[in-house]
């Protein structure tokens, strides 16, 4: 399948979105779900065919030029799509996982009155995400970047009548916008420096370490700004705050957007601009890796005290994204994308399982009120267990392979960060085990649960399979295709020596410990006493409060102050003061008009006298 087919990958879900958006009401549920699922499936099929050609060497990476989009003088950017291993991987992921989640949604959302709207936006999301990953230049990527943000906003706030949902959507969008502002500036810097926004051109100009431009301040600035955009989208410190709230959206949305795909856009961005980041020499090591490691640990710790199962998963996502950035930061690009892939599987799986629980319990998701679900929902339990253990990094599940890769790379490049990652690994295993134990084991709560319907169960099972065996796609030493496939993107030089037994042992040991501790401390649905630490962790180490105190409240106060004090009382007052002065002067003038003839005559005479005086004094 040639490059000409690439636009169809975007066009199919987009068409689905349009059809469902305009005629969703008339198509009926069945029609809507068919359009939605089949359009994504179609995109998957096209992507798979094209990726097979790419992987098999039957086709080479290509850029499809659609039309000239924004062009003024020396700034010319066209709407064009790029098909290369990286975009192929992401396209497969997006359409593949996307398809499964679409199918799942047909079950999950079956009772919702806004069925059509849901699938229209979900399709739009897939299309936007595909624009993001297929864009051949930064500007097109940014279009996708913002559109997925829009879809995220719309889907978080899908149940907009719930104030919390509406607020969460807005929060997500606004926080992302902070990153996006930096992103835009990064785009501008890139263009100002390089004169192009095309990825291939950028790679050509700064490839191989950047040559003369290596470490150029402008390049560093551009990389930092772009990374700030990635931080926003991928919910890294310090812009992670929106993601936990985003759980207000329907669970399939959380699975697709806030776990598997959209939030990984930041990772994708760095990967996409890999040559640029490599050339902006200190950025990767000095900024990306520490941010990733810090976020990973931070989010993992916070996850340990969450009671909302989706929030556990949300913090987990933040944490795992931190891993990916850590990998990127230490130069292990393909490891990052490997983990991205496996994470997409197991985290989507976890979310879908959690969704099934919610579906079964009419929205109940509080770990304190769950328990013993394994009996009522065995499939879901198994699926969740696969996902959890994969997340914990236990072999041979997929998470183990990719995480091991990252830990290995970290140890080689930054031992301190490696230690952090290892600790995080322990905490990860601990919190996900805690969640699993609290939800599925122990005595059942007072509820009647039922297993998920087939439309939800099958995608869950499919993802469970992927989460279990996806790891064989590509550990670096396993000589499986992923690294080779991505080699044109990240270059050959990062090929690592296979990790030693100590590496593997340590990783597995830490994960196993975490799992055991998590199980041990929570068995029988008990909760660990953490004292003050629990409060600190629940308060996200005080960050949310800090933002509220340092940003939100001051901003609101400033806004009010500007309006009520400055705008009304100074700026507008100044204009009114002029008007009032004129009116007062008018009153004065009127008092001169006494109505008395003799005074008028005096005025006339005074005028004459002034005349004399002027000529005398002149």
């Amino acid at each position: 399948m040639g490059a000409h087919a690439i636009p169809w990958i975007v066009a199919l879900p987009l068409a689905g979105a349009v059809v469902n958006g305009l005629w969703g009401g008339r198509l009926g549920r069945r029609g809507v779900s068919r359009v939605a699922c089949l359009s994504v499936l179609g995109a998957f099929v096209v992507s798979a065919a094209a990726a097979r050609d790419l992987a098999g060497g039957r086709a080479s990476a290509a850029v499809v030029h659609l039309f000239e989009w924004v062009a003024v003088a020396d700034f010319r950017v066209s709407a064009s799509l790029q098909w290369d291993p990286l975009s192929a991987l992401l396209a497969l992921l997006v359409t593949g996982v996307g398809f499964l989640i679409h199918v799942y949604s047909t079950g999950y959302m079956a009772g919702d009155p806004d069925y059509g709207r849901y699938f229209a936006v979900l399709n739009l999301f897939v299309a936007s995400m595909l624009v993001l990953v297929l864009g051949a230049n930064l500007l097109v990527l940014f279009v996708g970047w913002e559109l997925v943000g829009l879809c995220s906003y719309l889907l978080i706030g899908f149940w907009f009548e719930r104030p919390a949902a509406a607020a969460a959507g807005r929060k997500a969008f606004v926080v992302n916008r902070v990153g996006d502002a930096a992103f835009v500036l990064g785009i501008l810097s890139t263009w100002a420096l390089l004169g192009t926004l095309e990825f291939r051109e950028i790679a050509r100009l700064v490839g191989d370490g950047g040559g003369a431009l290596r470490g150029h301040p402008a390049l560093v600035a551009a990389a930092l700004l772009l990374f700030a955009g990635a931080v926003g989208k991928s919910a890294q410190l310090p812009l992670y705050v929106w993601l936990p709230d985003a759980m207000e959206g329907p669970t399939p949305v959380s699975a697709l957007i806030h776990a598997a795909t959209m939030v990984t856009a930041g990772v994708f961005l760095v990967g996409r601009l890999w040559p640029l980041f490599e050339a902006a020499s200190p950025v990767l090591g000095a900024v990306v890796a520490p941010v990733g490691a810090a976020t990973a640990l931070f989010a993992a710790t916070v996850a340990t005290v969450q009671y909302d199962m989706k929030r556990v998963l949300a913090y987990s996502t933040i944490s795992q994204l931190g891993y990916m950035f850590l990998a990127l930061g230490v130069g292990a690009g393909s490891a990052a994308f490997f983990h991205l892939t496996t994470h997409a599987f197991f985290k989507a799986l976890l979310f879908l399982a959690a969704g099934s629980v919610m579906h079964a319990l009419h929205g109940q998701i509080d770990l304190r009120h769950l328990g013993g679900l394994c009996r009522a929902m065995p499939v879901t339990f198994l699926a969740f267990a696969v996902g959890a253990l994969s997340l914990a990094g236990l072999p041979p599940l997929s998470g183990f392979w990719s995480k091991e890769e990252i830990l290995h790379a970290a140890r080689l490049h930054a031992v301190g960060l490696w230690a952090v990652a290892l600790v995080t690994s322990f905490v990860t295993a601990y919190y996900i085990t805690r969640a699993a134990v609290l939800a599925f084991l122990g005595e059942p709560g007072s509820f009647h649960a039922h297993e998920a319907p087939p439309a939800m169960a099958w995608p869950t099972v499919a993802l469970a399979v992927l989460a279990a065996f996806g790891g064989f796609l590509g550990a670096g030493w396993a000589a499986v295709p992923l690294v080779a496939f991505l080699q044109p993107v990240f270059g050959a030089h990062e090929k690592l020596a296979p990790p030693g037994a100590v590496d593997v042992g340590l990783a597995v040991g830490v994960a196993a410990c975490g799992t055991l501790v998590g199980w041990w401390t929570h068995r029988g649905r008990r909760e660990v006493r953490l004292g003050r630490l629990r409060d600190v962790l629940a308060a996200q180490w005080g960050l949310e409060a800090l933002y509220d105190l340092a940003v939100v409240r001051p901003a609101r106060a400033l806004s009010g102050w500007l309006y009520h004090r400055v705008d009304s009382n100074v700026v507008d007052r100044a204009a009114s003061a002029v008007a009032e002065a004129v009116v007062r002067a008018s009153g004065t003038v009127r008092t001169w008009q006494t109505g008395n003839v003799r005074q008028y005559a005096a005025g006339v005479l005074a005028g004459a006298v002034v005349l004399f005086a002027y000529w005398v004094l002149r």
């Binding site: 009116v583 004065t588 005074q599 004459a608 005349l611 004399f612």
Partner: protein, 470 residues
């Protein structure tokens, strides 16, 4: 002794019309028959106007010159008298004031104004000024039963006489210096204190008539008290005469002394614009507001005088024409309004006018826009010319005062126009049918628009006035 009467034929025509009215009035009885006086007046004015064109430029001795300036101003004056007559008839009949004397006085005053703008001699100027003024004193008091009208008349008369006396002393001083009252001699005079004081006093007298600050105080009181048609007429004609004479005395006769009088005229202009507009700002009585507005417009007119250049002179003439049109339209609309047998002259009385008489409301809004100086009305271009003239003369500050006060004027002009479009009408206020006045308002409103949309012909025409200045 052969006297060539040709140069004064236009004046003669008007004077004869006045005489015909006076004589005829003895014989004619009945309201309807007195419509004849309107016709006679109109015929007289029209004849005069056509004669002005026919006579061309000529002189009558050393006292009187029929030059471009005189012709232009006379035509403006004649045109405003035509509208003045039209506006009067229905009003007078309604108020029971319909007497031949009104028309006669109006015509005589017109003769005075015509002579004033053509006079080449200060003494003659004085006589002409009195001929212009004395009928106006009477017209101001023409609503005999109204105490306000009487008061207007008395104030106007007392102050007018006072100012005339000052003017006369000025004439005497000029005579003392140049040994002649002729402007031709004055044009050759060197600057000296007596001369400047003399000219200054003459300017005071003329400034009084034009309602220039600080000689303006009579205007608001008189305008408020006098009957509307009389105010409409006097506000225009007195200004045409007085400003015309100022043009003749200052920029035309004394260009070489520009440096001595320009600062004073400029200051007076500024003061007039400021005081006039500020005074008008919060008036609730429409006539009084328009009175202050006419004060303000004296200031704008003086801007052109102060500029003292060719542009200034002809733009002043242009603005006089424009001012006549827009002011007559504004006052003209007022002649329609009535409450309990007398004038309804509050701003609020305009309410609902748009519903009762859309055409009148439109005319009123148009004239307000023009008085403000908004395009595409004539007032805009007129002010633009004047400001340009001031800039050309280097009087940037004065132009700034001009535009600033124009902005202030927006507030009150628009408030009035706005009121006309707000409903409902005030209780007791009625819009009376007035066909003649309708014609008058239509004419002036049409001119207000025409001079703004197609200003070319009028501009070229008044530009010829500038030929007087080297």
């Amino acid at each position: 002794m052969r006297v060539d009467l040709n140069p004064v034929l236009p004046e003669l025509a008007v004077a004869l019309a006045a005489a015909a009215v006076l004589v005829g009035d003895v014989f004619v009885r009945g309201v309807r028959a007195r419509a004849a006086w309107l016709v006679v007046g109109l015929v007289g004015l029209a004849t005069a106007a056509s004669l002005v064109g026919r006579v061309g430029e000529a002189a009558f001795g050393r006292l009187y010159a029929r030059d471009g300036l005189a012709n232009a101003l006379q035509l403006v004056g004649l045109a405003s008298s035509v509208v003045g007559l039209l506006l009067a008839r229905d009003y007078l009949v309604r108020r029971g004031l319909d007497r031949g004397e009104y028309y006669a006085l109006l015509l005589l005053s017109t003769v005075g104004a015509m002579l004033l703008v053509a006079s080449q001699d200060l003494l003659f100027l004085f006589v002409a000024l009195e001929t212009l003024s004395l009928p106006l004193y009477v017209l101001a008091g023409f609503a005999l039963d109204s105490q306000r009208s009487q008061e207007a008349s008395l104030k106007y008369f007392l102050l007018g006489s006072f100012a005339s006396a000052l003017l006369l002393y000025g004439v005497a001083l000029v005579y003392g210096v140049t040994s002649s009252t002729s402007l031709a001699r004055l044009a050759q005079a060197e600057a000296s204190f007596p001369l400047l004081v003399g000219v200054g006093l003459v300017v005071v007298g003329l400034g009084f008539k034009a309602a220039v600050v600080p000689f303006h105080a009579w205007a608001p009181d008189v305008y408020e008290g006098a009957p509307v048609p009389a105010v409409a007429f006097m506000s225009v004609l007195a200004k045409v005469g007085a400003v015309g004479a100022l043009l003749r005395v200052l920029p035309v006769t004394l260009p070489h002394l520009l440096a001595t009088w320009q600062p004073l005229v400029a200051a007076a202009s500024a003061a007039t614009m400021v005081v006039g507009n500020l005074g008008a700002l919060r008036q609730t009585n429409l006539k009084r507001m328009l009175a202050y507005s006419s004060v303000a417009h004296a200031g704008y007119l003086l801007l052109g005088v102060a500029a003292g250049n060719a542009l200034g002179v002809w733009s002043t003439v242009y603005y006089l024409a424009v001012y006549g049109a827009m002011n007559l339209a504004a006052f003209g609309v007022l002649t329609f309004l009535e409450r309990a047998g007398s004038e309804a002259d509050e701003v609020e009385d305009l309410r609902g006018l748009a519903d009762r008489s859309p055409a009148m409301a439109a005319a009123f809004a148009l004239s307000m826009a023009s008085l403000t100086g908004l395009p595409p009305t004539a007032g805009f271009l007129g002010k633009f010319y004047l400001f340009t003239a001031a800039l050309q003369a280097g009087l940037v500050w004065l132009a700034l005062v001009g535009v600033a006060t124009s902005v202030v004027s927006v507030a009150y002009y628009l408030r009035a126009a706005y009121a006309a479009y707000l409903g409902p009408a005030r209780a007791g206020v009625r819009v009376q049918p007035a066909p003649w006045a309708g014609v008058g308002v239509t004419l002036s409103a049409a001119c207000t628009l025409l001079f703004g949309v197609l200003p070319g012909p009028l501009t070229s025409w008044v530009q010829r006035v500038a030929a007087l200045l080297r």
